[in-house]
Amino acid sequence: MAETSEARPSASAPGGDAGGEEDKHDERMLECNICLDTARDAVVSMCGHLFCWPCLHQWLETRPSRQVCPVCKAAISRDKVIPLYGRGNTKQEDPRNKVPPRPAGQRTEPENNSGFPGFGFGEGFHMSFGIGAFPFGVFTSTFNFGDPRPSAAPRGTAQYEEEQFLSKIFLWVAILFVLWLIFA
């Protein structure tokens, strides 16, 4: 006990003197490496360098063929920066709605490990019918039990868009195939 009470005043004294300096230093730590201002809509690269998202976006746009970190020249890309959400930032508007949009933070849903749900046609039951080329089978059907399909990718990500695109293509192929069956 005696030790702590002695140590405290001596430790706080130099801290109090250097308070202003330290504050300045802390502020500079949060400066964007491009505009040198305090980073707004902050993102951080995989190599750990801090930028405003609008600044970094413009840098990536300036040389699309050579996307490197403006500080250390490590390879970077739009998908590999992490947005920083501080607690003080309680603005109601979603920063992603701004132009240019800041990339969304990525979070994955925990794995759904529910087992075979008996005969309840609940989650994890999928059934599909298909029509194959004539000699090889008229009907093909598939049953899937208790095999959870990978959850859909979150809206707005590149994977989500890709999946949407693919499902549209498959839909059109199926329609064309049915039309061909009818009219051929």
């Binding site: 491009i34 360098h49 840098w59 403006p70 020249k73």
Partner: protein, 199 residues
């Protein structure tokens, strides 16, 4: 001028004024106009090089798209260096071209230019004549660079022999800088330089 460019230059200017390099006299920066698009830089020739003791003035033009594109910089002071044109002062330095990065500042660029004076890159020359002399006759290159530093950048080391030869051509009615370029190009052989000047 785009807002971000002038804002950043102002910020850099303030920081550079407080930097230890400015305090130590290694680099200097001055404003040329009020809208922050043109500046005048100065670097001291590094010690243990032929440029020692000289002060080299640079013209710095800040583009609208700064800092996403590099500043345009050239030597105003004439200099004999493989990576600087002895005619226009144009500089061949990768960070001023395709290796530019937005986090570089005028301070780091000026320091890089100073480093370029101590470590020339003759395999990527801006001035082929100077680079050839640098590779094939390093001793003469050193003397020539020292002479140019003395004449154009206020360096302390006059090369008496070279001054004599320039004077000889001056007496023939040739322009002083033209005479110096011809002599430097022909390894200070008076005959070949004269021949070239009168051909």
């Amino acid at each position: 001028m785009a807002n971000i460019a002038s804002k950043r230059i102002k910020r850099e200017f303030k920081e550079i004024m407080k930097s230890e390099e400015v305090a130590g006299g290694a680099i200097r920066l001055q404003l040329v106009n009020d809208n922050w698009t043109e500046l005048k830089g100065e670097i001291a020739g590094p010690s243990d090089t032929p440029y020692e003791g000289g002060t080299f003035v640079l013209e710095i033009k800040v583009p609208e798209t700064y800092p996403f594109n590099p500043p345009k910089i050239r030597f105003v002071t004439k200099i004999w260096h493989p990576n600087v044109s002895s005619v226009t002062g144009a500089i061949c330095l990768d960070i001023l071209k395709d290796q530019w990065a937005a986090a570089l500042t005028l301070r780091t660029v000026l320091l890089s230019l100073q480093a370029l004076l101590s470590a020339a890159e003759p395999n990527d020359p801006q001035d082929a004549v100077v680079a050839k002399q640098f590779r094939e006759n390093p001793h003469l290159f050193n003397l020539t660079a020292r002479h140019w530093t003395n004449v154009y950048a206020g360096g302390p080391n006059a090369i008496w022999e070279f001054n004599q030869k320039v004077q000889r051509l001056l007496d023939m009615g040739i322009d002083e800088h033209q005479a110096r370029v011809a002599l430097s190009t022909y390894d200070w052989e008076l005959e070949r330089a004269t021949e070239q000047l009168f051909s």
